[in-house]
């Protein structure tokens, strides 16, 4: 599984990926191809790399270096095709030689910046000075390229002649007769061709010289791409206050976890995304709470953090101790697909079915949002009970949000605290409801769920007829 396969599974995850400030095309390519990692050592090495960069760039001094480093990385072009041509001993044109020379120059400069930052031993950038030597015979150290005269001792003479001829043509345009002009032009063309021939032979020999460095060139591109990505990860971790996870053996536990996408929406409005503490063990954990209490957001956040961690990123929590899983599966409503002739219930139950089937083969993080909510409550409840029973004994981590009560299961239940408004005379509106919600999770040993749906409808300014009717029906039910 690569990042490009799952980038669109959750918008919040894609948001985190798009948020990366990657400079080069090769960096972006690398990003899309990163693998899902399940080996602790591999991930720890990745995180260590990012952590080291963060150490160096979080100071003001480091920030300055970072700008330079990023600028240089943005100048790196993807020249894989050119390297392949060298490997096959195909003759390159000047533009391709220029690209190779430019890569060498930029790489050497990036290595120098890394050294200044104290990151050279971490970055381990391949040395391209031998390649530069080949393409910079006059040691100008400037990013330009043509077939320099020092490549072949016949070139200076031919080119001098060419210059003289063109000069005499250009400066005497008005005095030369037509025959003289034609003669001069023919001579220029002939000299130009001789020059071309010599240049071509130089090009052949240059490719031969470069050939042995193709592994180094390939390794350089790969390394720079990795550095570009890692620097972007480090910058993101600083800007978004993300932290390095640790890998425990059993639980997935976060302190102060936030949803980065939600946070970015709330911040400009002067609000804050309330951080949450949570810890889950293998088996099923139900999440209950009033409507608008952030249950779905919680599921998404858990999924995003797990995906970020296992692709080698830091996570949006102050402390994270995670367990590694084979994959993250979301089953969050919006799966309806009329095109396949499936109702929302049908597509949901099929998805859950495949999850249950997979749960024997894989260790997963399973996130199911209000299953069976689109059918009658009697059967719906039974289905929820069945799902929980099937998954509770597996080694996957399952989180299920629900509004069904009296499930009578031996599963853990976490409840979102919900409304805490009793001490205020401010009217609650859809805009400020955030401030009256406490999103903290607490263990719930009862088998009840909050009944605040009608109240939420009131807050959302639903018509009074609708509300009072609902209340009447509710009373009737209770009296029976």
């Amino acid at each position: 599984m690569q990042l490009k396969d799952v980038i669109n599974t959750e918008a919040g995850f894609k948001y985190c990926i798009d948020d990366l400030n990657i400079q080069s095309g090769i960096g972006r390519n690398y990003l899309m191809n990163i693998r899902w990692k399940t080996i602790a050592q591999e991930l720890e090495a990745e995180w260590f790399f990012v952590e080291q960069i963060i150490e160096k760039i979080k100071t003001d001094e480091g920030r300055k270096h970072l700008g330079k480093l990023q600028h240089k990385l943005s100048c790196i072009h993807n020249i894989k095709q050119t390297i392949l041509n060298i490997k096959n001993n195909d003759v390159l044109d000047d533009v391709q030689f220029f690209e190779v020379k430019n890569l060498s120059l930029q790489t050497i400069e990036i290595a120098a910046i890394a050294k200044n930052m104290g990151l050279d031993l971490l970055f381990l950038i391949p040395d391209l000075s031998k390649v530069l030597e080949i393409l910079d015979p006059d040691k100008n150290n400037i990013a330009h390229f043509y077939i320099y005269e020092s490549y072949d001792n016949r070139l200076p003479e031919v080119r001098n002649k060419l210059k003289q001829l063109t000069n005499s043509l250009n400066s005497n345009t008005n005095t030369l007769s037509d025959e003289e002009t034609a003669k001069l032009e023919a001579e220029i063309t002939a000299t130009y061709l001789i020059n071309q021939e010599i240049e071509d032979s130089v090009r052949v020999s240059l490719v031969e010289k470069l050939n042995r460095y193709t592994p180094t060139l390939e390794a350089t591109l790969e390394r720079l791409a990795y550095i570009d990505l890692s620097v972007a990860k480090a910058e993101q971790a600083i800007n978004r206050n993300m932290h390095k996870p640790t890998i425990g053996s059993h639980c997935i536990a976060y302190t102060n976890i936030v949803n980065p996408r939600l946070d970015s929406v709330l911040k400009p409005q002067g609000q804050e995304c309330q951080p949450i503490d949570i810890s889950i063990a293998p088996g099923v954990c139900f999440i209950t709470g009033a409507n608008m209490a952030g249950k779905t957001v919680l599921l998404k956040t858990m999924g995003i953090a797990q995906m970020l961690a296992q692709f080698g990123f830091f996570v949006p929590a102050a402390v994270a101790d995670i367990a590694l899983v084979d994959k993250v599966v979301f089953c969050i409503g919006d799966e309806q697909n009329e095109m396949n002739g499936l109702s929302s219930f049908a597509s949901e139950i099929l998805k859950i079915n495949s999850i249950v089937e997979d749960s024997d083969k894989y260790k997963m993080l399973i996130l199911i949002d209000e299953p069976a909510r689109t059918t009658n409550p009697t059967e719906g409840k039974a289905i929820v009970q069945a799902i929980a029973n099937c998954l509770n004994s597996k080694n996957s981590y399952t989180m299920i949000t629900t509004h069904y009560s009296q499930l009578g299961l031996d599963c853990r239940k976490l409840r979102v605290k919900g409304f805490v408004n009793n001490n205020t005379d401010i009217t609650i509106t859809p805009q400020n409801i955030n401030k009256f919600m406490d999103y903290t999770l607490q263990e719930d040993t009862t088998d009840n769920v909050p009944h605040e749906a009608i109240r939420i409808a009131e807050i959302l300014n639903c018509s009074s007829t609708l509300i009072s009717e609902a209340k009447q029906f509710l009373d009737k039910e209770k009296n029976n």
Partner: protein
């Protein structure tokens, strides 16, 4: 042709000293843009100005792409910098070194920036957007070049927009019309548009320059109001009074005959002022322009193009040649500026 060589004639070249960028545009194809460019390049080289050349679209082709007639190639001199596509760079007939390669690609490959080592000929093909042109000009300015010349393709005028290049040369000729009277009329019309008066109000200019879309109304106190009409094409559909705030309109996009016609039907035509960004936004015929202005309407621009010279090519691509001396004289009388025969200037 034999001319005296000691004192090379250089009409209008000295005028170029003040400008960082110059566009050469033609009223039609085959009005001698490339000959004019070669003349300018030759003289700039002679006076030692550090020059860069770029283009919009394909140019400098050996054989005219539309008529198949012979066309002069562009001659570049030692030390000049130029931008062309990968395809045309590999076919160059001069010695040059690559100094930059653009990361994004055009239809003819990536754009290559190079410096001439030994003079010769090259085909130019360049960016397809004025946005890109602007960044190229900035690149050359920051690299310490004195002037960047933009060669136009076909009869595109957009690159002559003062928001892209500081100064322009207008090429006209028999290709526009073999009939001298028609030629003068058409040239005079474009000339008039280029020289449209700027609004004499720097505060209002500042305000309007920042607007990138829509149609706006300006009241007598220079307050501006968005009319919430996304395009001039929807103007006729609108039910509100577009002149509710004042008699001055600012149109940020293109202005067509249709718009002028619509404005002519309004009661306040005698007091109307229509403001556009610059003359390249006007896609109007002389007839409609005359109707509009005769009824009292005025067209003003935010930025005026600096016209350096008008050049004339007496030969049209179908072989017809007009009397150069007479054409230059009459055109010059009509425009009240000197007009140069581009074929004789060298």
């Amino acid at each position: 042709m034999h001319y005296q060589t000691k004192n090379i004639r250089m009409p209008f070249i000295t005028d170029l000293q003040k400008y960082k960028s110059l566009s050469i545009v033609g009223l039609e194809k085959n009005t001698g843009k490339t000959v004019c460019l070669n003349y300018v390049l030759n003289r700039l080289h002679a006076i030692g100005r550090k020059t860069a050349v770029t283009s919009i679209g394909i140019d400098g082709e050996r054989v005219d792409q539309v008529f198949g007639s012979h066309k002069p190639e562009i001659i570049l001199y030692d030390g000049m910098q130029f931008i062309t596509s990968e395809k045309h760079y590999s076919g160059r007939q001069l010695l040059s070194k690559v100094i930059a390669v653009d990361s994004d690609s055009t239809a003819l490959g990536r754009l290559i920036t190079a410096e001439v080592v030994c003079s010769g000929k090259v085909l130019l093909s360049g960016a397809s957007t004025t946005e890109k042109l602007r960044s190229q000009i900035n690149y050359f300015v920051s690299n310490g070049l004195d002037i960047t010349i933009v060669d136009g393709a076909l009869s595109r005028l957009s690159l002559a927009s003062p928001s892209v290049t500081d100064a322009m040369i207008l090429c006209t000729g028999a290709a526009v019309s073999p009939n001298l009277r028609q030629l003068i009329l058409k040239t005079k019309f474009t000339f008039d548009l280029i020289n449209l008066e700027m609004i004499n109000n720097s505060l209002l200019t500042d305000k309007l320059s920042k607007i990138s879309s829509g149609i706006w109304c300006v009241d007598t106190d220079d307050n501006i109001f968005d009319l919430d009409i996304p395009s001039v094409f929807l103007l006729e559909k609108t039910t509100k009074d577009i002149f509710q705030h004042g008699d001055t309109l600012y149109v940020s996009g293109a202005v067509s005959d249709k718009l002028l016609k619509y404005l002519t039907t309004k009661k306040n035509i005698a007091n109307q002022t229509l403001i556009v960004r610059d003359f390249t936004k006007l896609f109007i015929t002389p007839e409609m322009y005359n109707t509009y202005t005769k009824k009292g309407g005025k067209i003003r621009v935010l930025q005026q193009s600096k016209l350096i010279a008008v050049c004339l090519n007496p030969t049209s691509p179908n072989g017809y040649t007009i009397d150069s001396a007479e054409a230059c004289k009459k055109l010059s009388e009509s425009l009240e500026v000197p007009v140069w025969d581009i074929m004789k200037i060298e």
